[in-house]
């Protein structure tokens, strides 16, 4: 199943050989995890229960096998989660004996520190709980599942991305990244965001999930769901404030391409019930995953850049 070209060459040490693209990406990501483990005091993996963070967790498990992962997990809980995803999160934490930190957006709203937005979207509200948790726990390296193919501001992101004491990203003051010599130096109070999946595309992630037989929350596969339409996306009804009076709920066969806050993550019409189906569907799709299903990126031309500057992942 995990056949590399190297093995296909019979393992002769003097024959030219190359790794398959998935093996090359996997090896690079593992190298990044181990660099962080070797150089930082308190790293943490951002874990949402979405496919990218699930792949990150899988890679981290492989990187340190047969020892345990030397990192804990951090979930930024918007309060508008898909129940299947929360259930997956808790199961993964228990299965691998991990420690889970939770930064809760709801708690900030209840305390009056954050104000609910009129559109009910909580994605932009995640930044403050995230950055305060990083400061409070003194995390010095924070792994994110962000990929450069997701968005044009992310295409400019380094693998090791230095953030100041306010977690801010300054794209004009990034360190050049040379060879695989990552520079993680930072002052007390600063931290580094680390993106082991930088060079992966959505399709790579799915191919890797299929190759490795990684389990995912069910919402990634086609299922019947009650949804309503807003701004061209199918949204699931919920306590966050949908549907409105003029929006009608209907039953459709859909699946999710990304998992985020329910208020701004849309489903797509789909018949894909297996990993093979999903891969075929993505390979044929003429829409990016964020373009298809994330309202938060459509707010302005530089929505992602602006949020990243403030400390978003």
């Amino acid at each position: 199943m995990t056949t590399t070209v190297a093995k296909a060459h019979g393992g002769a040490t003097d024959a030219p050989y190359t790794l398959s693209h998935l093996d090359a990406l996997e090896s690079e990501a593992v190298h990044i995890f181990r660099e962080v483990a070797g150089e930082f005091e308190r790293p943490v993996i951002l874990f949402s229960g979405g496919k990218d963070s699930i792949v990150m967790l899988h890679l981290a498990l492989k990187a340190f096998a047969p020892a345990a992962i030397p990192f804990s997990l951090l979930h930024v809980d918007t309060g508008h989660n898909f129940p299947e995803v929360l259930e997956y999160r808790d199961r993964a934490v228990a299965a691998h004996g991990l420690r889970l930190h939770v930064a809760s957006v709801q708690e900030y709203i209840d305390r009056g520190v954050l104000k609910e937005r009129p559109d009910g979207t909580r994605n932009p509200l995640q930044t403050l709980p995230l950055t305060e948790k990083i400061q409070a726990e003194k995390f010095d390296a924070v792994f994110g599942g962000g990929r450069r193919d997701e968005e044009k501001a992310r295409a400019k992101e380094r693998v090791f991305s230095l953030r100041d004491e306010f977690s801010q990203w300054d794209p004009r003051r990034q360190r050049p990244e040379l060879w695989n010599l990552y520079n993680g130096r930072h002052a007390p109070g600063e931290h580094v965001r680390v993106f082991p999946l930088s060079n992966w595309t959505e399709l790579d992630v799915w191919q890797y999930i299929a190759r490795e037989g990684i389990e995912l929350p069910d919402i990634y596969f086609a299922h019947e769901r009650e949804v309503f339409q807003r701004a061209g996306m199918w949204l699931t009804a919920g306590e966050w404030g949908g549907p409105k009076a003029d929006e009608t709920v209907e039953k459709r066969q859909v699946r999710y391409r990304t998992v985020g806050d329910m208020s701004c993550t849309g489903a797509v019409d789909s018949d894909a019930v297996t990993l093979d189906d999903v891969i075929a569907e993505i390979a044929a799709s003429r829409l990016t995953e964020r373009g298809a299903t994330r309202a938060d990126d459509k707010m302005s031309e530089a929505a992602m850049e602006d949020r990243k500057r403030e400390g978003y992942f």
Partner: protein
């Protein structure tokens, strides 16, 4: 398992672009992404929307690649961006680097991980200073493959003679620098000639299209000339009931291959042992190769930690505290003689001091400016560095991974300088001299 998965296991090519400001680099990248159907509808729509709101009549494909506010506002590319696309034959990572002369550091950054560099030329202008600069950088960084894309062929009536003259001049220059392989392709990025589809306008050209070449250029490593090197990143010790005595040395193989049973030496200590096992991410293997992330187990309990280098006992590099290298200075503050820095080589970071800057290189004509006193941003020069601890360095000519290092400012952590150990260019002296000497009778 699934046929989809197996069919789509492919190889990965990392490549970088270089070109002067108006050579049409953005157009080429846009054309490549567009014609290989790698631009998706919503991305194109976003570009159309943005172009329209700026009052432009046609979509500006540069907006696809200029991702930052400041870049869009100024209409220039500030920083390296990485782009991804795939064909059924291969996956590509493109380091899209700005071409301005003041961004030498960006080309160095992009080329440091690239197996192929594309140097773009405007067919009307031919080989210019900037072209020579890019060729010199490709040679310096020892990028294995160089493509000369002679662009805007539509503006010279698709004449073979124009292309042939440029290709000949460039190839002669680049070979002299030691660029190992050059492929020249006549294209028009704007019209789409020979980028993805073969051109009907240039029947005289019998070579591959630009994309065909990217799809077929070899990315395999030839291990027969490689020194095997494993920088130790992390020591894995589970200390569990199941694995009470497991002690594995984790790292990504920087060059060559390692085999179970092989005699190895650990540097800088010089301790010797034998490989008793290799774990490839949880799976035991007999042999492991360059760029695989592995965990190596040794027969003897010897003191090994992060920063050490495991090498075959029969092929160990010397360790040294005095490094001579060619560097590209990448920080805004200058590098000066006497500068106290940190040097990161492989997985080891040590204190170091800049002892001397013997020369600065002028890329345009490869002339040396002696004792410049300092190197400023984007300068390339020779430096002598004394390290606080001995390091097992290879020549960059032998190993891009274990022959490279970065200098870091110990005060604020800034990455200062990219370094390449040993001689600057692959063949600085013409080898013919010796043969010619034989013919002389003194």
């Amino acid at each position: 398992m699934t046929t989809t998965t197996e069919l789509t296991e492919t190889t990965l090519l990392r490549f970088a672009t270089a070109g002067s400001v108006d050579d049409g680099k953005s157009t080429l990248v846009g054309r490549l992404l567009h014609d290989s159907k790698s631009i998706l509808t919503d991305q194109l729509e976003a570009v159309e929307r943005a172009s329209a709101s700026r009052g432009q009549e046609t979509p500006d494909l540069a907006l696809l690649t200029d991702g930052l506010r400041a870049e869009r506002e100024q209409g220039i590319t500030i920083d390296v961006a990485y782009r991804y696309f795939a064909t059924p034959k291969r996956r590509f990572i493109l380091a899209d680097t700005p071409g301005h002369v003041q961004y030498t550091r960006n080309m160095v950054t992009g080329a440091s991980t690239a197996e192929l560099t594309v140097i773009l030329i405007d067919a009307r202008n031919g080989v210019v200073e900037q072209t020579r600069r890019h060729a010199a950088l490709a040679a310096l960084l020892r990028v294995p493959h160089v493509v000369l894309a002679v662009n805007k062929m539509d503006l010279v009536d698709y004449q073979e003679s124009v292309f042939a003259a440029i290709a000949e001049e460039f190839t002669a220059y680049a070979l002299e620098l030691g660029v190992p392989e050059i492929t020249a392709i006549p294209i028009s990025a704007l019209a789409g000639d020979n980028v993805v589809d073969p051109s009907a306008n240039m029947d005289w050209y019998g070579g591959p299209t630009f994309l065909e070449h990217l799809e077929t250029v070899p990315v395999a490593h030839d291990l027969s000339h490689c020194h095997a090197r494993l920088p130790v990143q992390y020591v894995i010790r589970p200390q569990t009931a199941e694995h009470p005595d497991y002690r594995g040395y984790a790292g990504q193989i920087a060059a060559g291959s390692f085999r179970v049973g092989e005699s190895v030496t650990v540097l800088p200590s010089g301790h010797a042992s034998k490989i008793s096992g290799i774990d490839l991410l949880g799976e035991a293997v007999e042999v492991a190769y360059t760029t695989q992330s592995v965990t190596v187990l040794l027969e003897d309990d010897i003191d090994i930690s992060r920063g050490d280098l495991i090498v075959p006992s029969k092929d160990a590099p010397p360790t040294t505290q005095d490094i001579e290298a060619t560097v590209c200075h990448v920080a805004d503050a200058p590098l000066t003689v006497g500068h106290r820095v940190l040097l990161k080589h492989g997985t080891r970071t040590v204190k170091a001091i800049v002892k001397d800057i013997p020369s600065r290189l002028t890329l345009d004509d490869l002339s040396l400016h002696p004792h410049p006193g300092q190197l400023v941003a984007n300068d390339i020069g020779r430096v002598k560095i004394r390290t606080a601890e001995p390091l097992p360095v290879d020549s960059y000519a032998d190993s891009r991974r274990t022959g490279s290092f970065i200098l870091i400012d110990p005060n604020d952590g800034t990455t200062l300088t990219a370094g390449m150990v040993g001689e600057s260019f692959a063949s600085p002296e013409p080898v013919k001299d010796e043969a010619e000497d034989d013919g002389w009778d003194f």
